[in-house]
Each structure stands twice: as structure tokens, then as C-alpha cells.
């Protein structure tokens, strides 16, 4: 019986998590349409996205019940992605723009 109650409790937790994810999606959607500074908007969207994946990973994917070893392992792609992003993105601040424009216009 106690076990049954525990399972009912976890269903309730999943329903609650589902609700919060929908709220975060609504916030992200509102941000998409909000007339604010692009950089600030990007920052806020990164925040809502990170909040969403943390909620999904910790509750739906049960990461919060796993050992710290596994939790640390799952953050590897995020860290590597940030490194990849931070050394490729500054390249775009150069003058490469016209290359894409010429190619774009060349296509009928």
C-alpha cells in the first residue's frame, strides 16, 4: 500500500513537472515575440532553455537520483559545446558577410 502511494506521488510529480515545462514554454514563446534588445533576448532564451533541460534531465530522466559520477558525465557535451562555440563564434565578427551574400544572389 505504501509503495502504491509512493507511485501515485511520483505521477503527481510528473504532472506538476509537465505544468512547469508548459509555463516555461509559454515564457520562451512570449520572449520570442517581445520587442526587446536581441542580445538580451538571446540571453533570456538561453536561461529558459537551460531551466527546461535541467527540469527534464533531473526529474524525467531521473538524474537527481543518480550518482554524482553520472551527473558530471552528462554535462560533458554542454561544456564541450560552449568551448566549441566560444572559439568559432568570434570568427564571425570578421568581414566574411559578403561571401554568403554573393553566393545567395548567384542562385536563381
Amino acid at each position: 500500500m505504501a509503495e502504491h502511494e509512493q507511485h501515485a506521488l511520483s505521477y503527481r510529480l510528473y504532472l506538476k513537472t509537465w505544468g512547469w515545462l508548459l509555463v516555461l514554454t509559454a515564457v520562451a514563446l512570449a520572449l520570442g515575440y517581445a520587442p526587446i534588445n536581441e542580445k538580451f533576448k538571446a540571453f533570456l532564451l538561453v536561461c529558459t532553455t537551460l531551466a527546461k533541460i535541467l527540469v527534464i534531465a533531473s526529474i524525467f530522466m531521473h538524474l537527481r537520483y543518480e550518482r554524482l559520477n553520472l551527473i558530471l558525465l552528462t554535462f560533458v557535451p554542454l561544456v564541450l559545446a560552449v568551448i566549441l562555440f566560444s572559439f568559432t563564434f568570434p570568427e564571425t565578427l570578421g568581414t566574411a558577410t559578403h561571401v554568403i551574400q554573393v553566393r545567395g544572389n548567384a542562385v536563381p
Partner: protein
Amino acid sequence: MDSSLAAEQQRILASNWGGGKSPFGTSWSKFMMWIFIISDALTFAAFLITYGFMRSISPEWPKQTEVFNMVLITFMTFVLISSSAVMAMAVGAARAANPKLAFRFLVLTVVGGLMFLGCQAFEWSHLIEEGARLTHNPWGVPQFAASFFVITGFHGFHVLSGVTILAIVAIRAAMGKYSADQVENAGLYWHFVDVVWVFVFAFFYLL
């Protein structure tokens, strides 16, 4: 020298990482699923970073809200998040040794995945009809449609694989050839597909 080497070897073998133990505290199949998810996440990270790079060097980028049907995209997001929640419940039911309930939740998850794929097929055919191709599109730089097709295409293919895997797991649950580990591993993959969509939704459709 020799004795210190032997002592070092002894120390390593006795540690959690020396073998014969389970330093991650999971079954091997769940651990392998996590390794797969991590490597797959890097694939999508590469796609999204490339997209960011291309968008940043493009002189202008089409306004997504004018190209895409945002109601449809929001509905797709809603369906995928809901199916993820239902999947979590399927894992809960499987852990509670309730195969009937797990089967029902799994079927609901598959239905969610199929709805998502249907919406995506509709979106793709609509955009292709309007003249979007990998090499050019009517709204601006060719990189726009190229990144759209590649990113949503790869994600859609993952959804298709997920639906296939979940259907197999559901059929096995109905047949009684049922293991909670199997349901959980399939669930991990399904949540990962949802996580990727969260990124695509925020950075491709909204930003």
C-alpha cells in the same frame, strides 16, 4: 621502484574504477544509453553552433514568425513535452510492475510522437511547396532553409527512431516480455529527443 609500482597497481585495482564494481551505479544498458545520448547531444550541439555561425555571418536572416506557422510549431512543442511527461509515467508504471498501465502510457507516447511527425511532414511539404530547397529559398540567404532542413530533419529522424523503439517496447510490454530497464532506457532516449527540440524551438524558431 618495483614495489611502489605494485603498490600503485594495488591501489588502482582496489578503487572504484579497478573493475568488478559499478562506479556509476547503473545497469550497463542504462550507462550505454547515457553514453549514446552524450555523443548524440554533441552532434546536435555541432549543428546548432554551425547554425549560429552561419546566421551570424549572414547579412540578414528571415523573420521566422513570417515564414513559419508559429501556432503549429507551438502545438508540436506542446505535443512533444506532453509525450515526454507521459513517458515518465510509463517508466513509473514499469518500475511499479504494472505492465498494463505501462503499455497504455507507452501507446500514448507513440501517438504523441506520430502527431509530432505528422505536423512536421505537413510543415516540410508546405515549405517545399513555397519553394524552399537546401540550396535556395524565397525568404533570404540559402543558409536559412539549409539549416532548417538539416536541423529539423535530423531531429525528425530521431523522433521516428524513438517512435519505432517505443512501439517495439510497447508491443513487448503487451506480450509480457517486459523489463523495467528496457522501458527506462527507451524513455531516456525519448526525453533526450524532447531536450533537443527545446533547443531547436528556442534558438531556431524564437531567437
